[in-house]
Amino acid sequence: MGTRTIAGIEIQVNDEGYMMDASQWTPEVARELAKEEGIELTDKHFEVLNFIRDEFLKGNPLTIRKVGKSGIVDIKGLYELFPGGPLKKASKIAGISKPSSCV
């Protein structure tokens, strides 16, 4: 656990770099975090990020399948937006905790 300055905001992150407080998230923070993952965020990325933030804040468990059925992007598209670990990377950039689901 520690504190980092991201996009000018003091942000608490855990050992794996996931934000501890989702309310500190801003689109600028997302852009910075995405850059660290080698991703340049587009509008489509933000649609996905907003969807998973909404689900997270409602307390719903996240799965790849759920994002795939959101109507925003199919599963293949999700892998293309966040290559090499879509749900984990998207969660990290969305400022929410690491997903605990197995699917």
Partner: protein, 168 residues
């Protein structure tokens, strides 16, 4: 939780499924899908009764055994007598209950699970010998099946640094 050092992270898993019971097939599918979700290359090889999981006519009708399954319990945990499992429709009922429980956990049906794995870059293969044995052709199999392989071809693609073969 101790994670692997970065230089020895798993890079590839090859999962073999030789059994066609619901739980055997799902063990394979969860492992393979979990791998692609983590950015690990995944290859899945279905052989013998495991072929049911990728055979169009059978993939939606997988069962869990209610006879000779000592872990079988009634809902609520009471013992499940073997004679009960042998009655007509009990196995079908139990299997459909298992499927609905999984649906609640957002675990997809077999065909959709195969779509998810291939959408993430995973590859699905069938065993040539078992296909010949069961008199199946490629047309009988799901469109997600990339190829029919001999065991030698399977080993040839299973190698590489930080690669593992998993037999479920």
């Amino acid at each position: 939780m101790e994670n692997n050092k970065d230089d020895h992270r798993l890079k590839k898993v090859s999962v073999i499924c030789a059994k066609g019971a619901l739980e055997d097939v799902y063990a394979t599918l969860v492992l393979a899908n979990g791998a692609v979700m983590e950015g690990i290359e995944a290859k899945v090889f279905f052989t013998f009764f495991g072929l049911d999981a990728i055979t169009k006519k059978r993939m939606k009708k997988l069962h869990t055994a209610t006879v000779a399954n000592p872990a079988m319990r009634m809902p609520g945990g009471l013992p499940f007598p073997t004679w009960l499992g042998s009655l007509p429709f009990v196995e079908a009922g139990v299997s459909s209950m298992m499927r609905s429980q999984m649906e609640k956990l957002d675990i997809p049906p077999v065909d959709e699970f195969l779509d998810m794995i291939t959408a993430g870059g995973g590859e699905i293969y069938a065993c040539k010998l078992a296909m010949d044995m069961f008199k199946l052709t490629k047309d009988d199999l799901s469109e997600q099946v990339k190829d029919v392989l001999t065991v030698g071809e399977f080993y040839a693609m299973a190698g590489g640094e930080d690669s593992q073969i998993i037999f479920t």
